[in-house]
Structures are given as structure tokens and as C-alpha cells.
């Protein structure tokens, strides 16, 4: 009985926790989902209003020897896919008087659009409706007798747009399969017989092909990986030694050194840009990958983290080992390193992210023309500016930049997070 109630309580609690967690997860993931879907769109589709996730590809057909977009129209109650011709006629937007926007006639909600001339369905009654706009001017709207859907009504002519002639590409001459409509998709469609772009859901995988061939991104990817591996390995080595010395070897001046060291974290990187650039020039490293690796393997941040972790390891273990005659390096290698795999794993993530995502320094040190030595962040910012009118390609580039670390992280998260979670900071 009590166990039953406890079980229900437990599962209710868990249910709530799950709901919260899933909601948060969706929030965190949405930008990436958006990125992935957008990277598979055509550039037109990105600008669709309202925005939608799934990539839609507009359909097209061959007409007059060119590929042109297809529209779906309802003509005489029949759905027909039509294409636009060059032919234009003066048309009219017909609607009821209450729908007419007196101040901005082009904003009037339209019932239907019809060609004005030689139209058997239209009859000018000669009457007009007069309204005063906000500026106090009188505006006249002619009234027509309009026949549509088998009925005849009096409608007012709001204004006279130019309508394009649309025909069935398979049967262009057939008058039964022709219609007249506004060409621009961004003008509000009429209520009757609206014309819509014919579309279907389709993923544009070729964006990914395009991106690699366009922007040399594969080389950037390799460079970034190369640099990242170099920096990670270097940082791990230096910070394990440094962290150990700072946490365990009590020599004179250590604390002063540590404070100075810690202080270096607080130096904004920008302080170093100019002098560092000059140093790179002196060494002949500017515009070279080495400038992205060697100067960055010495890290106060990582050393600080390792030190904090080593502090939690009981002193007794080490003292016993020292009494047994172990050398410092042996102790570090045999006792501290195995005990701190989680800390090292965490540090690997930090360093990995730091190196993979670094932007300002590559931006300064690698010449803009030197695509051979580009890293992904550089390629991406260039992509974002050169292709800003094609967000689908920018998102593809972002995906190429973002996905590899994600995949590696997902594959290795057991080492990263699990390591901390299970054996974690228990010491």
C-alpha cells in the first residue's frame, strides 16, 4: 500500500521532471534543428512567410524552352498547374465596398481579380461609390456587374493592377485552361481563385556539395582539426605538470607565481593582439598554421582547473607514495593522472571548444587571401557576408562548422560527461 503510493509519487515526480527536461531540450535544440532544415532549403524558401521548418521546393515546368515556376490555379472549378506568360493586361481588383481601403486602395482585400477589357463577365454599371479619405479628399470607386461561379453581383473596382496571363504549359492555346492573375507572390491574393506556387517537400542535399566546392571548406575543416588536436595535446601536457606543481609541491614563491598566473587569465586577449602579431612576424609564423597552435598550448586556465582538481585528491596517498620512494613524475603519472581522467576529459572538452571555436586570433593572423590556412570560423564569417542573401548556404556552412565537434562530442560524451558524473569529483 505505502510502497504503491510511493511508486505513484515517484512516477508523478519523474513525469514532471521529464516534461521540464524535454521542454528545455527542445528549446536548446531548436536553433540547430532550424539550421539543419534551413541548410537543406532553396534560398527562396528561407524567405517564406510565415517561416516553416521543412524545406519546400517550388515545382517548375518547361515552357517556351525555359524552366519556369509552376502555379496552381483553380479554373472553372478545376485545379490546373499553369505558368506565367509575358503577356500583360490591365486588370481590376473587385471587392465589396466594405473591403475597400479608402486611404490605400492597393491594400483593399480583393474578392477576385479579372482582366478589365473584353471580359464577358464584366459589365460597367456606370455608377460609382464615393468615399472621403483621411486627407478629406473624395475618392470614386466604379461599380461593375460581375459574373463568377454562376452568380452575378455588383462589386466595386478598388484599383487596376496589371495582370499576367497564365497558361497550361502542356496546352498553352486552350482558352479553357488560361487565367489572369497578379504575378507577385507578395501581393495579397484574391479570395476567389487564388494562385499559389506549386511546391513539394524536398531536401536540397546539393547545398552541402556546393559549399565544399565553393568555399574551400574541406581544407578549413582539416586545418581546424589539425590545429585543435595540436592545441589540446599541448595544453593537457602543460596543465597537468603545472597543476601538479601548483597543488602539491610547496616551494618558495609558488603562491606568488600562482597569483600571477591566475592573473593572466584576466588579461583580455585583445591586449596581446598587436604585440603577438609582431612576435609572429619576428618568428616568421604569421600567416602560418603554427601561429594557431604553439602559442596557445600554454594555458593558465587549464592549469588552474587541474590544480583545483588535484587539490581534492587526498594528500595521504601521495605522502605514502613519497615515503615508498616514488619520484614526483612517477606519482604524477601513476597516481594523479589515472585518478583525474574525468578532469582531464573535461579539460579536453574545454580546450577542444576553445581551439575549434577561436575566431579573433585566426581572423588577425591568417591573411584573408590565404585560403590554404583558413580555419572554419574564418570561412564561415566570409560565407556569411558573401552569401548573406542566401541564408540556406550560410546555414550549410554553419552546419559544417558546428556538426563535427557535435558528432565527436556525442560519440565521446561517455568519456567527457559520464567520466565526471560517475567517478567525478569524488576523488
Amino acid at each position: 500500500m505505502t510502497s504503491n503510493r510511493r511508486l505513484i509519487q515517484l512516477w508523478t515526480l519523474r513525469g514532471i521532471i521529464y516534461v521540464v527536461l524535454v521542454a528545455c531540450a527542445l528549446l536548446m535544440l531548436f536553433p540547430f534543428i532550424y539550421m539543419l532544415f534551413t541548410s537543406l532549403k532553396t534560398s527562396d524558401d528561407v524567405y517564406n512567410v510565415p517561416p516553416r521548418l521543412l524545406p519546400n521546393k517550388p515545382l517548375s515546368a518547361m515552357y517556351n524552352g525555359a524552366e519556369v515556376p509552376l502555379y496552381r490555379a483553380t479554373i472553372n472549378g478545376q485545379e490546373i498547374d499553369v505558368v506565367s506568360t509575358e503577356e500583360k493586361v490591365t486588370g481590376g481588383r473587385f471587392t465589396t465596398m466594405d473591403q475597400v481601403d479608402v486611404d490605400k486602395p492597393t491594400g483593399s482585400a480583393s474578392l477576385l481579380d479579372l482582366p478589365l477589357e473584353n471580359n464577358p463577365n464584366l459589365k460597367d454599371t456606370g455608377r460609382v461609390e464615393t468615399r472621403t479619405n483621411s486627407k478629406g479628399e473624395a475618392k470614386e470607386f466604379p461599380i461593375y456587374e460581375v459574373t463568377y461561379n454562376g452568380q452575378t453581383r455588383d462589386l466595386v473596382l478598388a484599383f487596376t493592377p496589371k495582370l499576367n496571363k497564365f497558361v497550361d504549359p502542356k496546352d498553352p492555346e486552350n482558352v479553357e485552361r488560361q487565367t489572369y492573375a497578379l504575378l507577385s507572390e507578395f501581393a495579397a491574393p484574391p479570395e476567389e481563385n487564388p494562385l499559389n506556387r506549386a511546391e513539394k517537400v524536398e531536401f536540397q542535399w546539393k547545398n552541402y556539395e556546393a559549399i565544399f566546392s565553393l568555399r574551400n571548406l574541406d581544407r578549413s575543416l582539416l586545418n581546424t582539426s589539425f590545429v585543435t588536436i595540436g592545441v589540446v595535446l599541448g595544453q593537457i601536457v602543460t596543465s597537468i605538470f603545472g597543476g601538479y606543481a601548483f597543488s602539491r609541491i610547496p616551494f618558495k614563491g609558488r603562491n606568488t607565481l600562482f597569483i600571477a598566473y591566475l592573473g593572466s587569465i584576466m588579461i583580455p586577449f585583445a591586449v596581446l593582439i598587436v604585440p603577438m602579431y609582431r612576435l609572429m612576424v619576428v618568428l616568421g609564423w604569421q600567416n602560418r598554421l603554427v601561429s594557431l597552435i604553439v602559442p596557445w598550448i600554454f594555458t593558465a586556465y587549464g592549469t588552474f582547473m587541474m590544480r583545483q582538481f588535484f587539490m581534492t585528491i587526498p594528500k595521504e596517498i601521495e605522502e605514502a607514495a613519497l615515503l615508498d620512494g616514488c619520484s614526483r613524475f612517477r606519482i604524477l603519472w601513476r597516481i594523479f593522472v589515472p585518478l583525474s581522467t574525468p578532469a582531464i576529459a573535461t579539460q579536453v572538452i574545454f580546450t577542444f571548444l576553445y581551439a575549434w571555436n577561436s575566431f579573433l586570433w585566426p581572423f588577425i593572423i591568417i591573411n584573408l587571401g590565404n585560403k590554404q590556412d583558413y580555419v572554419l570560423t574564418l570561412s564561415l564569417i566570409e560565407l556569411g557576408n558573401v552569401y548573406r542573401t542566401e541564408p540556406n548556404l550560410v546555414m550549410t556552412g554553419a552546419a559544417v562548422t558546428i556538426l563535427p565537434p557535435m558528432i565527436i562530442f556525442i560519440l565521446a560524451q561517455k568519456y567527457f560527461i559520464e567520466g565526471i558524473a560517475t567517478s567525478g569529483l569524488k576523488g
Partner: protein, 677 residues
């Protein structure tokens, strides 16, 4: 502690202590000569070879002195060693060790290894298809890891994985022409400097190692041994920092005291950069006083209907009372504060409607002045301001204008107004020479102020939820961490799209508004937020992006901390009858204090240096909007857009001072707390 066990082979060292010391002396003599030669050649240089490298005599002198340092230490240590003083040995150790490391660094440089990184990347890129071998090896290794340890299959599969990766490596080395690389290294030995460097490395290494073994000869104490062990372990860090950090830092510090533009030798200007940036002044404008005001009412045709220019009774108040409107249409009101010269000050203008006429047409929307509503603001000039309102025949209106004015600017020349506060009739005006610096500082602090709670509190909550032992947690952990894995430049590109005025965020908000409206029957307008162009939102948009990226990161740090809290403590608390909240307050929070400290410090430190987020998000306009200008962006602008490196460097040092102060306070605070516990 026992010397014997630590140096079990020290007696077996073949050379006698005195011969080693002699060898060290001779080597030191060589070093002295060399370093003096180098120093002289630096001092004698007219200027640095490249005009653009010229940093002035101060830097040249400094580099020359640094080059002399080995000579000084060599002499000093030699003298001390002759006296068998242990400090002499330590100094000689350090000198030879540093020579050894720098020598290797230089040798690798001569070998062309550093610039060869590009060739390595090139070779890997050309043969990238072979890299797939490593992927297969990794998969095989993973597979082996999943097999139980006792299974006979485990070892063979591991061997296959290792073999496969070795094979891939050999193929890569072969296709990448590793032989030619080795050949190139050998070729560098045709130059004497390569041979000499290699020789010097060997000698330094030999001397250093030999001296290390002479602990007893020099009467080494245990403290001294611990000390050299510590310095040795720290040496990679210390040397790396000296070259890639401390050196540039000193240079930056020096530049901050100069007026530095490219192509010219920097002029030393002392503290003037700092003075300019930090100059700020507070002035009080106390004589807030009434001014003559006037209002004029014009009919739709622009004819003056009525005016009031009350200078006698109450100068601050002009009023057209109970005026009946003769026609329907747009009326214009012109209000003016009658002070001559440029004036600033608060005003208010109101139209009180006394009775409405029988107007038929509803007034059009969006007119700036409505019946019964007061418009307030600041009159910026004598020219006054105009309003319109829509009135119908027979409306009776009262128009009131009030004005108070301050005299024109109280700030000294060179100062611009940063902000002002009005207290009663007095007004405090803050002026600065570099207003943009203060604005960027404000933005940066605000960024941190928002980011710290926004990214830490949810992270802690998530970590606690994730810490409960229920299935599926691994998945969520990974998901929350994902945003922080992504490059800021990449995520900023995504958020740029999401923040678009027709993007998903606004679409979502519109849908939510519509939903609320349909449920509650309200008519809340669609917010249509301009995330990246509305000045008051720009910084918040940047913070939101940063928060999204930081939460997962902080969650993982907290989780690590939480995992370190022993379960027994909770059990004990549970036995003591503490509920979950009490457990959280009394067990979790105190034990999480070090983690929290770490998380807050790192968040603030990174927050104060924020650059990439605003830059990547807002770089469509150049420069980025002032509301998104952070301190580091400001100094970047100063250094790389206006050429003012000296100025930029001093800004950097000011930022540094603040970061240091904040961290020091926090560090002290937590350490004190830790001792209390």
C-alpha cells in the same frame, strides 16, 4: 625522505663533481662571450631592420638587456659554485636547462618544423581519403571496449585496431613524402648554425643533468630539492608564458604609454592616454528655472487662431483656455520655450478637452497629440516643437505649455555629456572625454550582470534535475551541452536568422500572442520585436545568445560538483528529517560552493572579455551598433580602425585592472568562507 632512494644511481655517475663544475665553468665562459656579443649587436643597431618593427629605443634597450641576462647569471652562478654554494648550482641548473629548451626550440625552427605545419596539413589534405583508416581503427577499438574483458576476442580486435591505425600512419607518411622531410632536416646541417645549435643543446643538457646529480656535493636540502622539482614541472608553462605572454604583455604595457601609430616610432606620452580615457566630471546644474513659454494654435489652413505668450504672471506656464474649434480637421500646435541660445530642459504640453463637438468622422490614428494626454520630453532648442491633433467642429480645448530650462552645457571643453540625472530642481550632469569608453563599459557590465544569473541559475536547476537517478539522463545531459560545443560564429549566424524580424522567434511570439488572445479574449498586439535593430534590445539579444550557449556548459560543471557530494550526507540529512529544500540548502549548496565559485568567476571573466558574440551577430553594420559595443570591441576599434594602438592598449589595461579587482575580491571572499567552514 631519503636521498638514496630518490637518487639511487647518483654514486654511479662517472665524472667527479669537481670536473663537472670545471666543465660548467668553461661552458659558462662561452655563454658569457656569446651573450655579450649578441647584446652588443643589438645595442649597436641603429634601429630595427624593418622600419615597421621599430618600437623605439626603450624596447631595443630592453631586448639588449635580456640578451645580457645569461652572461650575468653565468658569471654569478660560477662564482657561487666555486664556493660550493647551493644557490650557484640552482642558477647554473636553471641557466643550462633554459638554454637547452630554447636551443631545442631554435633547432626545430631551423629544421623548418614550425612553418612545416602547413605542409603537414597540405599532405593530410591531399591524402585525406586515407584518414578514414583512423576512423575504422577507432570503431574497431570501440568494439573491443564493448567486449567483456575475459572474452578471448577482446585482445585480437584491439590488436587489429592498433594495426590498422599503424598501417594508416605508414601509408600517410609514405604518400606524404616523409622521407623528403627527413632529407630536408639533414640538409639543414649544411649550415654551421644548425650544427652549433645542436652542439649547444647537447652540452647544456649534459651540464644540467650532471649538476642535477650533484645534490650532495652542494649540500642540497630537501626544501631545495622540492623547489627544483616544482620549478622543473612548471618550466614548460613558465617558458611558454615568458615568450608568448609576458613578453607581449610588457610590450603592450609599454605601448599603452605611447602615442603609437603604424610606420612611426612610438612617442612616449606618459599617462596621457589613461587620463583621457578615465577623465570624467560631475557638474551640478542647480539653477533650474522657469522660462517664458508660448503656445500657438493654428487651424487646418495654417492660420493662427489663438496664442498665448504669458511672460508676466507665470513664465513657465502658457495656456490657451477653452477654445472652441471652428472646423473639422488637423490642427497644429506650436510650443516654444523662450530662452535664447541653446537650452535644454523638461517641458510638458497638454491638451485638455473640455467638451466634444458633434464630429462624425473618427479621428485618424497615430497623431502625436491626443486629448487629455500629456506629452513630456526635453526641449532641445529654441526652435520649439510642433504637434498636430485632429479636432471636429465645436470641440472645446485647453492647451497648456509648461517649461523649465537649464542653462546650456556646464561641461568643460573637451567633455561630452554622458548622462544626467534630475533630482528635484537640480540636475547632475556626467561628462567624459571618451563617452564611448564609458558606454562600452556600461554595456559590458550589463552583459555580465545579465549573463551570470541567466546562465547560472537555470544551469544549477538543470543539474539538480539531471542528478536524480532516473533513466534517460545521459541523453539530456548531452543535449544541454550541445550549444556550448558550437562555434560562436556559427551559432551567431543561426541566431541572426532566428532574430530576423520575420524569423522564427517573432513568428513564435506572434503565435503565442494569438493563442492568448483567442483563449482570454484579449487583444494584445503582436510584439513584432526588432531584436537586432531596436537599440534597447540589442544587448539583450546578445546576452540571450550567450546564455543559450553557456547554460549547458555550466550545467556540466555543476553536475560534476553535484556528483562529488557524497550520498551518505543526503541520507544522514534524510534521517535527520530534512526535506528536499533543506537538503538543498544545507547539503548541496555549501558543498557546491567551490564549483559555484569557479563557475561564477569564469562566467564573469569571459563575460568581461566578450567580443565574438556581438561582433558575429551584429557585424552586418560596420561599426556595430553602439548598444552592442563592448569594452573589447571598443579597444579593437581603437587599435585596428583608428590606428591608435597606444590608446587601445591603455583601454585594455584598464579593463584588465577591473577584471583583476573583481576576481581578487571574489577569490578572497570564497577563500575566507572556505576557512570558516
Amino acid at each position: 625522505m631519503s636521498d638514496v632512494t630518490l637518487h639511487p644511481r647518483s654514486q654511479e655517475w662517472p665524472a667527479s663533481p669537481s670536473s663537472i663544475v670545471t666543465a660548467a665553468m668553461i661552458w659558462h665562459a662561452v655563454l658569457v662571450v656569446l651573450s655579450i656579443l649578441v647584446a652588443i649587436s643589438i645595442f649597436q643597431m641603429d634601429r630595427f631592420p624593418n622600419k615597421n618593427d621599430d618600437l623605439g629605443n626603450a624596447v631595443q634597450g630592453f631586448v639588449g638587456l635580456v640578451a645580457l641576462l645569461p652572461a650575468v647569471i653565468a658569471v654569478w652562478s660560477s662564482i657561487l659554485m666555486l664556493r660550493r654554494h647551493s644557490l650557484g648550482r640552482m642558477l647554473a641548473l636553471a641557466l643550462n636547462y633554459v638554454m637547452f629548451v630554447l636551443g631545442i626550440f631554435y633547432l626545430l625552427h631551423l629544421w623548418g618544423l614550425f612553418v612545416g605545419f602547413d605542409d603537414i596539413a597540405n599532405a593530410l589534405h591531399e591524402n585525406r581519403t586515407w584518414l578514414i583508416g583512423f576512423a575504422f581503427a577507432y570503431l574497431a577499438f570501440r568494439l573491443a571496449g564493448r567486449i567483456p574483458e575475459k572474452s578471448p576476442w577482446r585482445n585480437p580486435i584491439e590488436m587489429i585496431a592498433v594495426g590498422l591505425s599503424m598501417l594508416t600512419l605508414i601509408v600517410l607518411l609514405w604518400t606524404g613524402d616523409a622521407v623528403k622531410g627527413l632529407e630536408h632536416i639533414f640538409k639543414t646541417y649544411s649550415e654551421p648554425r644548425t650544427i652549433f645549435t645542436t652542439l649547444a643543446i647537447c652540452i647544456s643538457a649534459f651540464i644540467a643533468y650532471s649538476l642535477l646529480k650533484l645534490g650532495r656535493y652542494f649540500g642540497e636540502t630537501p626544501e631545495q630539492r622540492i623547489a627544483w622539482q616544482g620549478w622543473l614541472m612548471l618550466s614548460p608553462n613558465i617558458l611558454g608564458f615568458a615568450i608568448f605572454f609576458a613578453g607581449p604583455l610588457l610590450l603592450s604595457f609599454y605601448i599603452s604609454f605611447t602615442k603609437s601609430v603604424p610606420g612611426h616610432t612610438p612617442d612616449f606620452v606618459g599617462l596621457s592616454n589613461y587620463r583621457n580615457i578615465l577623465s570624467i566630471e560631475f557638474k551640478i546644474q542647480s539653477d533650474l528655472r522657469d522660462v517664458n513659454t508660448s503656445v500657438v494654435l493654428r487651424d487646418p489652413n495654417g492660420e493662427e487662431l489663438a496664442s498665448n505668450d504669458d511672460t508676466e504672471g507665470n513664465p513657465a506656464l502658457s495656456r490657451i483656455e477653452e477654445f472652441t474649434l471652428p472646423a473639422t480637421g488637423l490642427y497644429a500646435v506650436h510650443a516654444q520655450a523662450g530662452e535664447t541660445g541653446r537650452t535644454t530642459g523638461p517641458y510638458s504640453l497638454a491638451i485638455a478637452q473640455v467638451s466634444a463637438g458633434a464630429g462624425e468622422v473618427a479621428p485618424p490614428e497615430k497623431l502625436p497629440l491626443e486629448y487629455g494626454k500629456t506629452v513630456t520630453g526635453e526641449l532641445k532648442s529654441q526652435a520649439g516643437a510642433d504637434w498636430q491633433f485632429y479636432g471636429t467642429t465645436g470641440d472645446v480645448v485647453t492647451i497648456t505649455m509648461r517649461g523649465k530650462v537649464y542653462p546650456s552645457s556646464v561641461l568643460d571643453s573637451g567633455y561630452n555629456e554622458l548622462d544626467h540625472f534630475t533630482v528635484g530642481s537640480k540636475r547632475l550632469v556626467i561628462g567624459a572625454r571618451e563617452t564611448l569608453f564609458w558606454q562600452s563599459l556600461r554595456n559590458t557590465l550589463l552583459f555580465c550582470l545579465l549573463l551570470v544569473p541567466l546562465s547560472i541559475i537555470p544551469a544549477l536547476a538543470l543539474a539538480i534535475l539531471l542528478n536524480s537517478k532516473i533513466p534517460g539522463m545521459h541523453f539530456f545531459r548531452a543535449v544541454y551541452f550541445l550549444p556550448s560545443v558550437a562555434a560562436v560564429v556559427g551559432t551567431a549566424m543561426i541566431w541572426r536568422q532566428l532574430y530576423d524580424s520575420r524569423g522564427f522567434i517573432n513568428f513564435g511570439l506572434a503565435e503565442i500572442t494569438q493563442f492568448i488572445n483567442s483563449i482570454l479574449g484579449t487583444s494584445i498586439a503582436d510584439p513584432e520585436i526588432r531584436w537586432l535593430t531596436n537599440p534597447s534590445l540589442i544587448l539583450f539579444s546578445v546576452v540571450l545568445l550567450a546564455t543559450w550557449q553557456a547554460i549547458g556548459f555550466n550545467t556540466v560543471l555543476f553536475l560534476a560538483g553535484l556528483q562529488g557530494v557524497p550520498r551518505e550526507l543526503y541520507e544522514a540529512a534524510y534521517v535527520d528529517g530534512a526535506n528536499r529544500w533543506k537538503q538543498f540548502l544545507n547539503v548541496t549548496l555549501p558543498l557546491l560552493a567551490p564549483t559555484t565559485f569557479f563557475v561564477i568567476v569564469t562566467t564573469i571573466i569571459t563575460g568581461l572579455q566578450v567580443f565574438a558574440e556581438p561582433y558575429a551577430l551584429l557585424s552586418e553594420t560596420d561599426p556595430i551598433p553602439i548598444e552592442g559595443t563592448t569594452s573589447v570591441y571598443y579597444l579593437y576599434r581603437k587599435s585596428f580602425k583608428s590606428f591608435e594602438f597606444g590608446y587601445g592598449s591603455s583601454v585594455a589595461w584598464i579593463i584588465f585592472a577591473m577584471i583583476f579587482a573583481i576576481t581578487l575580491i571574489q577569490f578572497r571572499f570564497t577563500r575566507a568562507k572556505a576557512y570558516e567552514d
